[in-house]
């Protein structure tokens, strides 16, 4: 389908093209069953950044306020990348892990499902 416009060949800028982010790309990061953070967060990250830095830096900055955070067993965390199950290689870059501009990473922590297992 296409928009109906008052003139032919209507188009406009893709306002969130990756070129607009000064060398970074956007990455969304959400934690399933932890609705205290009501939605995923968005972060501008260099595509060359190793995935391990997400775990070391980005995830704590986003989620460390949750009491479940300290109990996370990082060996057991399951990841979803753009809706598909995913095993990140920690020393490889986001790019090489297939994390692209505006990719959504979801973190699942088996056994940790929010305050009193409530999903919050």
């Amino acid at each position: 389908m296409a928009v109906k416009a008052a003139y032919e060949n209507y188009s406009g800028p893709n306002r969130d093209a990756v070129e607009n982010f000064h060398g970074n790309q956007l990455v969304y990061l959400g934690w399933d069953e932890h609705m205290m953070f009501p939605c995923a967060g968005v972060f501008p990250l260099p595509p060359q950044m190793p995935f391990g830095a997400i775990i070391k830096e980005v995830v704590p900055s986003a989620f460390s306020l949750h009491p479940d955070f300290a109990s996370i067993d990082w060996g057991k965390v399951e990841w979803l990348l753009d809706g598909k199950s995913f095993n990140p290689t920690l020393d490889k870059s986001l790019e090489d892990n297939g994390v692209n501009h505006k990719s959504l990473i979801r973190m699942i922590t088996p056994g940790l499902n929010g305050i009193n297992n409530s999903g919050f």
């Binding site: 296409a2 953070f37 900055s61 409530s118």
Partner: protein
């Protein structure tokens, strides 16, 4: 001298509206009305347009003048009598802050939009109706600003509504809704605003809100609200007339109109979530719950509106069932969202007191105690421990409605809904199937959305830190955050001779 026979209402209407038009002699209709056909709507005969109210221009001015005189008398009395002290509680003012920053600029947007349709439509009946509504909407914006400016003398967060509207992250929700309609053609605009918004949804904005103002002792808002609402009946009637007229003119119009109805019903419903949040959480004395309002004004009355149009082939807006499925979750999720982003809002948030939690339990027996009361109680305990929760990261927004992606599957309310699509090699994210469909129908347009968190990272919002961005928004240090800690709360307790809250600023 023989007196001329008095005209009846219909003759008078024709003489005082339709006959005010003129025929063109040296330009063609297509040259004069270049925006009248690109959307695909076919109009065979504009003279078939009937305004059911048959309000003539002279009667219009007379009634509007009278409404203004009544309203400004009240505003004067309000100021002279320190009536800001008469509201139930300083928390109430926060509903006004949302109204002034999120709704008043929409009134101004409607003024612009109807000025556009009044110029773009070739038929004189539609031109006159558009002109009246355009002037009404300007009046609404002005009277709201004048009225609420009384509160701006005493409370925070009310000082810069139009500056904020163009910049603030959550205000991009109403702004993008309206600009989607304003940047479309005249038929789409009038379907979006007159029908989908005014006719189907506006009762939910004004009836509970103005009744809530009355219940909470806000004399000034009641008066601007009802003064505006008296125009609204005419606007709603125009919405119905527009739809019937287009459908009667040509059978090809039906699928185009149905799609607009689907689109703006959904976008309008998403927008109204914030009103639901005011009804359930922000009014110290509550009139009705969001759920009750949705049942009364959409499920019952809305269905009758669509029954009226069934003879033309119009059906209930697509995805309406989802709005019903979400009704027991919507407001709780939105309030928790604003609570967690309270440090970046121009109004205060708080945890309701126990009697208010009980009211919510009673109104939402299937969901509140099970899901939402424990969350609110937990957050209240954290606040008491000095750990008031604020979400440190910027939210992922839906590309279409621009609301943070907080909505859950009603069958599984701890699972967020994530939808996405790829367009021109880029990924776009949506809160719902409906928002995704709206995008996929017009990706050239919707991919241009100005999403505030992304704009912050592009460097277009004053800087990289939250204080930089809040300065860019013209927020002061007193505008947002926890109500208990606020200057509004401290002042209120002082003015009313109440015991100060231990935690107040």
């Amino acid at each position: 001298m023989e007196q001329a026979k008095k005209m009846n209402m219909k003759e008078k209407y024709n003489a005082m509206t339709g006959d005010l038009a003129w025929d063109f002699s040296y330009k063609t209709e297509a040259e004069i009305f270049p925006l009248s056909d690109f959307e695909g709507i076919k109009i065979e005969d504009w003279s078939k347009w009937q305004d059911p109210f048959r309000l003539t221009m002279d009667a219009y001015w007379k009634y509007q003048g009278e409404k203004e005189r009544k309203l400004y008398a009240v505003i004067d009395a309000f100021g002279q009598n320190n009536a800001h002290l008469g509201v139930t509680d300083a928390r109430y003012i926060n509903a006004l802050k949302i109204f002034l920053t999120a709704v008043t600029p929409l009134e101004y947007g409607a003024h612009r939009g109807f000025a556009m349709t009044g110029r773009a439509f070739p038929g004189v009946g539609a031109q006159v109706a558009s002109q009246m509504q355009s002037i009404d909407e300007l009046r609404h914006a002005q009277t709201q600003l004048h009225t609420i400016s009384q509160y701006n003398k005493y409370f925070d967060g009310l000082h810069d509504p139009f500056h904020m509207f163009d910049r603030v992250w959550y205000l991009s929700v109403p702004k993008s809704y309206f600009e989607d309609a304003l940047s479309a053609g005249p038929f789409e605009f009038i379907t979006a605003i007159s029908f989908s918004f005014e006719y189907v949804l506006t009762n939910l904005l004004f009836m509970p809100f103005m009744s809530g103002a009355a219940y909470n002792g806000d004399m000034a808002t009641v008066n601007f609200g009802f003064s505006a609402q008296s125009d609204e009946s005419r606007h709603m009637t125009l919405g119905l007339e527009v739809i019937k007229f287009m459908l009667e003119q040509h059978p090809d119009n039906l699928p185009i109109i149905q799609r607009w109805i689907d689109k703006y019903f959904w976008r309008g419903y998403r927008l109204l979530g914030i009103v639901g949040m005011m009804m359930d959480y922000m009014l110290p004395k509550r009139v009705m719950s969001w759920k009750e309002g949705w049942e009364m004004y959409f499920e019952q009355n809305g269905k009758m509106l669509f029954d009226d149009l069934a003879r033309y082939g119009i059906t209930m807006p697509k995805f309406w069932e989802q709005s019903v499925e979400e009704k027991e979750h919507l407001t709780h999720q939105l309030w928790l969202t604003f609570y967690s982003y309270g440090h970046a809002a121009a109004f205060h948030t708080w945890i309701p007191d126990d009697s208010e939690l009980d009211w919510l339990s009673e109104k939402y027996p299937n969901t509140f105690d099970k899901y939402y009361r424990p969350r609110l109680v937990y957050l209240r305990e954290q606040e008491k421990l000095g750990k008031r929760f604020y979400n440190p990261s910027l939210p992922q927004l839906c590309q279409t409605c621009q609301i943070p992606m907080v909505y859950t599957d009603p069958k599984n309310p701890t699972k967020r809904v994530y939808r996405e699509t790829i367009y021109n090699g880029d990924r776009f994210h949506f809160c719902s199937d409906a928002c995704k469909e709206i995008f996929e129908h017009e990706p050239e347009k919707m991919s241009q959305a100005w999403l505030p968190p992304h704009q912050i990272f592009q460097g277009n919002c004053g800087g990289a830190t939250i204080p930089d961005v809040l300065k860019h928004y013209h927020f002061t240090e007193n505008d947002g955050g926890e109500f208990l800690h606020s200057r509004d709360n401290a002042n209120w307790n002082l003015w009313k001779g109440l015991t100060p809250d231990e935690e107040a600023a």
